[in-house]
Symmetry: C2
Subunit: 383 residues, 2 copies
């Protein structure tokens, strides 16, 4: 995948740099880990420091000192999960900032403009988020009696209409220099991806693919998964949806997931992933290893002088013991978060690197079966 | 200065690694910054994870994964400043842990044993701490009516007696293999420094030097300063005391200080420094620069695209702007602490490196006057 800030080999994992920084580690750590692209959150950056300020600084790459590729989400997910209040209309989403309660409006056009100011390499079209079952974010403004199926269909239709508006705005930004200048667009080569919705209904997903691909984007994402549905259902939706997306454009599965999800969804055709799991769990003392999860705070590690994962080549595992990492975590030292994050991101990025290599050498199925032979999900530790 | 874990060029600054980690940065950052020796806190490590556990792990160097020199304090300072309760007798200090209220006893002998288990390269003899004026730590157990002068004399005398006991215990550990084994001593080459007390009274300081040097240690520290006395008084005490200490053994000024203090106290004969100031202030958003202090949270830096210190060569200044560092600080990102700490420690370690070079080339006085020409103390920002 080519971007204005460099090439990215796929399939790839994008560490989440919510507010212009991947939590607990520095850009240099990320580069050393081999991260080629990170994700920034439009909602957070719009509220603070503000996309106008970022544009005046020359765009997000320059503002945060990261000269490599960046993808920004549309802000929709955080509006639905974080904002103090939200009201969805055909025009867009009105919400109150979780920081100061100030009223904001995000529309397909304004979400496109915000990302144009940020100047990410890949911008996402604004979508309407509908969750699965009881894990669904509180979709205020919808009829209480609306069924999940009806809600999913309505949200898919609206997402498609919004995608059309987002794309039209992007084409204006690209085609009209005065519009681009008025918005303070900072990355002329910015790509835009559309998002496929449709819940867990294959027919809705197919319809969403058709509507979105018809509009035409540089790449396509599958949204609305990893929101609480059983993992098997998620795999089925991906298996159904991904092959319908254009073969020679990137396919991005948003917000997923566990390491075995990466392996399984690559098998189903996904090229790009992002997830807060490796970084968030690191800060909670959860270390991912080839055999499963270690909760480093447990007393059993107090005198355990082995590295977190004896087979791991990361700088944390090469230098430190479980006993020391436990000590740092219990003592509340910030470097516990740093060292754990380095390890977990290495696990994800190294896994993706091995997957890419296996694909080149035709040994992906071998890697897949070997991975599952040792890795244990133990999902209860991640909820 | 030669230690079992390598040589250290003096004069040097030792970053404070309270609980076996310099706060907010990794060992690799420290190595890249050129830190050759760090300080560990006996009080903290004794309480958690415990010196017995550290000894079973092979000593502090192995437990924390730092193969370079380490100095440990005696624990006395923290007992007097942090413990929930303390009672000083001739035997030692009884105190309650600030973590769980458990009762502990630190004597000159046990402080020596704890540090023998930790296996630092330089151990400190236990001293009795008496502060200056109203900044004095609460020295419970002393007569309320005791004057400062009498208190300083009494504490100096006791510190000298304790130094004799600490040294006797150290010689037992060195001379008697069965004692060393019973204690689980982890670093046979460990040195021991005595501490000179005596408050701000030149006669008491002279007496303390004589008493301490008479006992005979591998090096000597000046304690009981930087506890609230005017900086000019501190300089005078150092100027009076340091030249009386053996010329060919290290002279260590404990707990000092501001960058200009380092320059001035090197001029007065000091070889070693430690201070939490660069690391603690970094976490509070205070950046030290050649011209003085920057409080990065200030609104004036919101769009300031200059590096914190345009003349600085640290990785923070080479890559990031004041605007971004302010954003990270305001957003509460951990990496704000990391990037600020890297900068402040670079400032201290680079200053010491330039001082050493100037001494070799006979240009120290030139460096000293140039330093003061640009550096502004503005101490109010550090209280």
């Amino acid at each position: 995948m080519s971007t204005p800030h460099g090439e990215v080999q796929t399939p790839c994992f994008m560490p989440v740099g919510t507010r212009g920084a991947v939590k607990a580690i520095t850009h240099r750590d990320l580069e050393d880990l081999g991260a080629k692209i990170i994700l920034g959150n439009t909602y957070h950056l719009h509220l603070r420091p503000g996309d106008a300020l970022v544009a005046r600084a020359g765009g997000l790459h320059r503002f945060i000192g990261w000269p490599h590729p960046i993808l920004t989400d549309s802000g929709g997910y955080q509006v639905f999960s974080l904002a103090a209040m939200r009201r969805v209309t055909e025009e867009g989403v009105q919400f109150r900032s979780h920081l100061d309660g100030a009223l904001h409006m995000l529309t397909p056009e304004s979400a496109t403009d915000v990302q144009a100011r940020l100047g990410s390499d890949i911008a996402m079209a604004l979508d309407e988020l509908v969750g699965a079952g009881e894990c669904a974010p509180n979709a205020a403004g919808h009829d209480a009696g609306e069924t999940h199926a009806a809600e999913a269909e309505r949200a898919m239709e609206r997402t498609a209409r919004w995608a059309g508006r987002a794309r039209a705005r992007m084409l204006d930004l690209r085609g009209d220099a005065s519009v681009a200048q008025a918005v303070a667009r900072t990355n002329p080569g910015q790509a835009q991806f559309g998002i496929v919705q449709g819940g867990t209904d294959p027919a809705l997903r197919t319809a969403s693919v058709q509507r979105t691909v018809e509009i035409g984007f540089e790449g396509y994402a599958i949204g609305g998964l990893s929101v609480g549905e059983p993992v098997g259902v998620m795999y089925d939706v991906v298996a159904h949806t991904a092959p319908q997306l254009p073969q020679h454009q990137p396919r991005y599965l948003m917000g997923t997931g566990m390491p075995d999800d990466l392996v399984e969804c690559v098998a189903r055709g996904i090229d790009m992933f992002d997830c807060v799991l490796p970084t968030r769990n690191a800060r909670n003392g959860q270390l991912l290893t080839r055999s499963g999860v270690i909760s480093i705070k447990n007393a059993q590690y107090a005198e355990d002088l082995r590295p977190p994962d004896p087979e791991c080549g990361c700088v944390t595992c090469r230098r430190f013991t479980r006993a020391y990492l436990r000590h740092l975590y219990i003592a509340g030292e910030m470097s516990a978060a740093t060292l754990n994050t380095v390890h977990n991101l290495y696990f994800y990025l190294d896994l993706m690197s091995r997957i890419r290599e296996a694909i080149v050498f035709g040994s992906f199925e071998k890697l897949r079966s070997e991975f599952h032979r040792t890795f244990s999900r133990r999902p209860q530790q991640f909820r």
